[in-house]
């Protein structure tokens, strides 16, 4: 059984990532009532496996000894590309 510290008195491991995006504005016709832009982005460029959550669960070793094991969960992809088209009017 765990003895918990006060709420917010502990921190998970550092979370950091780099997201990059390139925006190409649509020049279009000057008299057009709307204009748009293409956005090419990459999420988590250097592919860090940040912790999504950490679980502590009972694990049995041998016949009777019982230990807690920490398991971390992270998103499966290293980086994630995206393409967006925004338009304004």
């Amino acid at each position: 059984m765990f003895i918990y510290s006060d709420r917010n008195s502990s921190r998970m491991r550092d979370y950091h990532r780099l997201d990059l995006s390139l925006t190409i504005k649509d020049k279009g016709a000057p008299d057009r009532f709307w204009h748009g832009e293409w956005v090419f982005s990459v999420y988590n460029v250097y592919g860090r496996h940040n912790d999504w959550m950490i679980n502590y669960q009972n694990k049995f070793e041998g016949t009777s000894s019982e230990v807690k094991e920490a398991t971390r969960t992270y998103l499966p992809f290293l980086f994630f590309p995206g393409i967006t088209y925004n338009f304004y009017f």
């Binding site: 765990f2 003895i3 918990y4 999504w52 959550m53 669960q57 920490a70 971390r72 992809f77």
Partner: protein
């Protein structure tokens, strides 16, 4: 037409696979180092209406994820008092940290028992500390008999129910249920106790009320023809009931979406910031029956 069908099938497959990739995360065991905290005294003590050597177990708390062996508290001075009589507990020479009363001691319903632990230095600062806890010993309801019936909910959930016949003594009562098969205590730890309040049964008769479920998939629970099944019923205080329920909630896995945040289990040991565990006084009654296969109860 055939090509279109193939493309449609591939698109359909992609529609299943792509979301599956995104909602599925990876897991791996890690060596996580949690912050340490100060050492607490861990108390597991009871006095019951049984005439026996009652036990108080004293341990030091350990770091989480620490695989070092548990350290027991030796050399403590432990007493249990009912206000008139004081029972001295002696450390079991074979089991360090286990303190026992004489074997002729029994608790009396209606009394309040106080546990006193002294001559311990849990925080290792050179100053001896004293810990105390009190518990009322509740009266027991009348239990007439029990039956054991087969229970089949479906192919996966099947086993045996222990059914209770008796009379609740009225008012709000809290019970622990423990099962014994032949001479083996099946419910041999706190996580396996059944705990319940008498909600809806205040002062009522129990007429075959199912109080414990022995699961067929659990090898220790398997009941065979002519096994002697004993139900031990303990009448406990609300504080101890809250402790047992709190412990079981913390012990078993939680669903993060539907469970509340983890919390420390309550204790009745003072000072509360230096100790965990519980000292419980409760009344005990046991009823036995021989299991015969003819009894069946279906959901």
């Amino acid at each position: 037409m055939n090509t279109m069908k193939k493309i449609k099938n591939k698109l359909k497959l992609a529609l299943y696979i792509i979301p599956a990739i995104f909602i599925t995360a990876c897991e791996e065991p890690i060596e996580d180092k949690l912050d340490s905290t100060y050492t607490r005294l861990v108390v597991d003590g009871t006095i019951t209406t049984d005439t026996m050597a009652h036990k108080v177990l004293l341990k030091y708390s350990n770091d989480a994820l620490n695989r070092n062996p548990i350290r027991f508290v030796s050399g403590a001075v432990v007493t249990i008092s009912d206000g008139t009589n004081t029972f001295n507990l002696h450390e079991n020479p074979k089991v360090p940290g286990e303190y026992l009363t004489d074997s002729n001691v029994y608790g009396v319903a209606g009394n309040t028992y106080t546990l006193n632990i002294s001559n311990v230095d849990v925080d290792d600062n050179g100053v001896k500390e004293t810990y105390t806890a009190s518990s009322y010993l509740p009266y027991m309801s009348r239990i007439d008999t029990i039956t054991v019936t087969d229970y089949i909910h479906n192919d996966k959930l099947r086993g045996w129910l222990i059914n209770l016949y008796g009379q609740d003594r009225g008012g709000r009562n809290y019970y622990l249920t423990k099962a014994i098969r032949n001479d083996t205590l099946v419910t041999d730890s706190l996580k396996e106790y059944g705990a319940a309040a008498n909600s809806g049964f205040e002062g009522e008769k129990y007429e075959g009320f199912a109080v414990y479920f022995l699961e067929k998939d659990d090898t220790t629970d398997i009941v065979r023809e002519n096994d002697r099944i004993t139900l031990e019923l303990n009448c406990i205080t609300k504080d101890y009931y809250d402790f047992v329920i709190g412990f079981q909630k913390e012990y078993f896995p939680k669903n993060p979406i539907f469970s509340g945040p983890s919390a420390n289990v309550t204790t009745n040991i003072s000072p509360k910031e230096k100790a965990v565990g519980f000292f419980a006084a409760y009344s005990v009654v046991r009823k036995s029956t021989i299991y015969k296969k003819r009894n069946k109860k279906y959901d």
